[in-house]
């Protein structure tokens, strides 16, 4: 089992004819993902490396049965690509694009209120279920192995580091989800935890947070009442306040969003927090009773 994506997921790639979209659509197919369509307005009717192209998301869904989308559209047009999916009723959208203006995302969030479309990201590496051979996004193919650990992360590279360490230590994964480093994202730590809670195969979840915002604190409140086994990690302990640390969302403003506050909240909820990435492994093993 897994969350959100599995062997039945049919993927549409928006921006498949661009440099990033083209490369990663290829990588996704190598991983085993069923890429059924590409959307590039103006190129409908053609094909790209064997994948049929469509002018619109709605048309691609109608003709191919696509039920998930990966967005590789440049920042000025990415919000529109998300909205097109929401309007077409696409069940799952993973937006990889980094650098979308924040107000565009405020409008997206407003439009999607009450929508059945689940958005992952933006500014994220996507989602991967190794057991179902389904990867939507840009996570490197060779890292994964099948098992019972779930992973949620705001950071792309730390996702890779953590998955790599899990695999090398014989700890396979159900689903790994990169939720994104922007201030406004579709799926937060809490949402992802709630999905994992319902997955009987996920026995432990690794939750990688970072400075900025209060999503980790909100997740900690939920974990206080949940029986889920979780291991936490927070990066940015040494980031100064007021400086944006690469991610638009990774900024300490005033007294909120500090690493210390997030670590304290998780520990209060009984979640062990690893001091280093390496320490995640023994903590996961302990949570699994190994």
């Amino acid at each position: 089992m897994s969350i959100l994506v599995d062997a039945n997921t049919k993927v549409l790639v928006q921006g498949i004819t661009g440099r990033e979209g083209s490369f990663h659509a290829g990588q996704m197919r190598l991983f085993g993902t069923n890429v059924v369509a590409g959307v590039t307005p103006g190129k409908g009717g053609g094909e790209h490396e064997g994948v049929p192209l469509f002018d619109s998301v709605a048309e691609a869904m109608a003709k191919t049965g696509a039920n998930a989308s990966a967005i590789f559209v440049p920042p000025p047009f990415a919000a529109d690509a998300i909205l097109e999916c929401a309007a077409a009723g696409m069940p799952l959208v993973s937006c990889i694009t980094e650098g979308i203006p924040i107000l565009d995302m405020v409008r997206v969030a407003r439009y999607m209120k009450g929508s059945d479309t689940r958005l992952i990201g933006p500014n994220c590496p996507g989602i991967t279920t190794p057991g179902g051979k389904c990867k939507i996004g840009i996570m490197p193919n060779m890292l994964f192995s099948v098992g019972n650990v779930g992973l949620i992360s705001r950071s792309g590279t730390l996702t890779y580091e953590a998955v790599d360490a899990l695999t090398r230590n014989g700890l396979g994964q159900t689903t790994c989800i990169g939720i994104g480093g922007d201030p406004i994202i579709g799926t937060k730590h809490l949402d992802a935890l709630q999905l994992f809670e319902k997955d009987p195969d996920t026995k432990c979840v690794v939750m990688i947070g970072e400075i900025g915002g209060s999503d980790e604190e909100t997740a900690a409140e939920f974990l206080q009442r949940s029986k889920m086994k979780v291991v936490g990690f927070i990066s940015g302990r040494n980031a100064p306040p007021g400086k944006r640390m690469g991610h638009a969302g990774a900024i300490i403003s005033g007294s909120t969003g500090t690493a210390a506050g997030k670590i304290a909240a998780l520990e209060k909820a009984g979640v062990p927090v690893a001091a280093t990435l390496e320490e995640i492994i023994p903590l996961v093993k302990r949570q699994l009773g190994q």
């Binding site: 920042p75 000025p76 650098g99 979308i100 203006p101 924040i102 107000l103 995302m105 405020v106 409008r107 969030a109 407003r110 590496p125 840009i138 996570m139 490197p140 060779m142 890292l143 992360s153 705001r154 950071s155 792309g156 590279t157 730390l158 996702t159 890779y160 580091e161 790599d164 480093g181 201030p183 406004i184 990688i208 970072e210 400075i211 915002g213 209060s214 999503d215 909100t218 990066s235 940015g236 302990r237 040494n238 980031a239 100064p240 400086k243 944006r244 640390m245 690469g246 991610h247 638009a248 969302g249 990774a250 005033g254 007294s255 001091a275 280093t276 990435l277 390496e278």
Partner: protein, 379 residues
Amino acid sequence: MKLYEYQAKQVFASFGLPVPKGEAADTPDKVAEVAERIGGRVVIKAQVHVGGRGKAGGVKLADDAKQAREIAQQMLGMNLKGFVVKSVLVEQALPIDKEYYLSFTLDRDAQHIIGICSAMGGVDIEEVAESHPDKIIRMPVDIAFGPLDFQIRDFIREAGLEPTKSREIGAVMKRLYEVYVQTDASLAEINPLVVTKDGQVIVADAKFDVDDNALFRQKELAKYADASEEDELEAEAHRRGLTYVHLGGEIGTIGNGAGLCMNTLDIVNQAGGKAANFLDIGGGARADVVRNALDMVLLDPAVKAILINIFGGITRGDEVAKGVLEATSTLDVRVPIVVRMAGTEAESGLKLLEGSKLIPAATAPEAAKKAVELSKAAA
């Protein structure tokens, strides 16, 4: 991107917000000239990106141009909470009756814009939030409609602002919101909004941050980008197109991905050192980007050792190794460089580095430990 007060006021004024008569100046002569032109009492305000300027001696009153010049002589070049004052804003002094706080910003959790208002203006809003949380009134704004008239009326009444001035204050709120949405701001703040003794409503101080992601469509504001950099190293990095934050320690760091770079600062700290900078080469960086990054880190004279921490996903280890080798063969590298590489093409990358002066490390914590030891040996 943060704008200085004088820049923020220029933008606010262009949206019809009432700002005091004034002008920025960077020499005592110019300060005197502006003071003369304004006439009467003026206030001289240091232009730095730091709060609490008043208490730190960065805001002073002058009765005439002569006194303004004297104050400018002291203030220009002074160190204000770690920032050198390069320019000051000279403005007409206001006969203050009441001071309010007003801002629009993003409520990340609720994912909408929020207006914030308080009758306790003129002091740090974070302090008010601590001491008098009930004095801070929040107004959620639906971006599809903007702030509605009844919301603004309620907002002003709940905050306890001067009822006879509610129409003027409401107009200021609407305009401030227009500034916020039309300029892709992440913060548009007036603190204080002053009601003068003769009943005028004026923006006495302004704080204005713009979303970096939106600068591609805010060409008018992009001109402020370079002038707004406080830190010379950060300004240089910006010109080079690098994501760099100057931190002041002695270990230069380079990594790929924001999370990994942040984590690199943490492991340097755990190894007993302090990072000189944050530098993210991003995903899929080629050799020339790595060379540019290394060159940038070396510009900081405080750097005693460099730690390169790469986890290859889209970024390839061999490309990084090529960049580092290119850089070290053409640049004057005066400090030891420790390289930790894992992931895509890490082995071929490390192979390329064999026989060079670069110091390989198997794990990130080990690399940090080595870099810190080497920096201490060099000191």
